[in-house]
Symmetry: C2
Subunit: 191 residues, 2 copies
């Protein structure tokens, strides 16, 4: 069966280095890399969430170039990846759209480089996916999801940590973190 797994890249509200609430700018590589990983691992929709109209227009023009414009004709694989993108103003809007589509609200899952309460393991979340539960995975830009977003989530995945020998450094880009999350949840491992 195909999973009902969506991801949302949040540009507001997120925190900066000083843990202040800010809005971040959409970047071209976040759009491409996360769409390609999403498409590889069977993500249904990759929601790009920003309240800023100009940022929404920029995102749409990038996605359109690769799905409807010249980009897609020279690189159909990229068109395929970027076709899973939808742009929304807020997480609430994403939740409303998913709830309508699935006739039930998704399980909302926060990700963070820190340990959070209401932890759910990768194995438990994988089980939810396999049971057909619609899931929305929230990914934060800048220094991560704002407290009110984490508050809104039903559960949180544990942080991605390296090997014991590597210590506690875990400052991954959101592109790397998204890729690893998706591989842990949906990757098929060949022996």
């Amino acid at each position: 069966m195909s999973f009902r797994l969506d991801i949302a890249l949040i540009h507001y509200p997120v925190v900066n280095k000083k843990q202040e609430i800010v809005g971040s700018a959409v970047t071209n590589l976040d759009i491409h890399d996360i769409a390609r990983a999403g498409r590889t691992f069977g993500v249904r929709t990759y929601w790009v969430v920003t309240p800023y109209e100009q940022q929404q227009e920029l995102t749409a023009s990038i996605a359109d170039h690769w799905t409807k414009g010249y980009g897609g004709t020279v690189n159909p694989d990229r068109a395929d990846a970027l076709s899973i993108i939808q742009i929304r103003t807020s997480i609430e809007q994403v939740l409303a759209d998913m709830s309508e589509q699935d006739r039930q609200p998704p399980l909302v899952v926060a990700t963070s480089a820190s340990r959070l309460c209401k932890k759910m393991s990768y194995a438990a979340l994988q089980n939810e996916l396999q049971q057909g539960q619609p899931i929305l995975l929230l990914l934060g830009t800048a220094w991560g999801l704002a407290p009110q977003v984490i508050e809104l989530a039903d559960v949180a995945l544990p942080p991605i940590m390296g090997s014991m020998g590597a210590g506690t450094y875990n400052h991954l880009s959101v592109r790397s973190a998204a890729s690893i999350c998706l591989d842990r949840l949906c990757g098929h491992r060949e022996d």
Copy 2:
């Protein structure tokens, strides 16, 4: 114990879309994202391999900005990540330097989005790492490692595939592929 795992990002020789041998340009995000993932997962050295002098200078100036320059003072975590970078002209030069450092040649591991001969599973490679074997993981830019690089490798990892439901799409960015590879080899999973 700490692993003896190095990674090399190859900018020449790689192939383009038509499978012709080309050299690619170094990109800022490849430097940052892969260094951050490398540092997180305990990579010893991240070799940036390019024969082009101007590209070597560009790479050095980015790395220096974050390790010795202003960047490192405002973001010490980034300095920490980029400190694992070394620039070399060729894979042969990397192999010579690693062999001297470890007093034995590394096991050279190719990565590819296609199935290659001389396959080694992630579990088997993890076992080699844990036994103390020095390992060099080769990552290709553009459309991937050139045939002569794959020929030079001792073994190859299987391609990263999504879930069954997602079909056979696996066009990941090298940043995503590197992150997933390292997590599969060295990631610590919390229950």
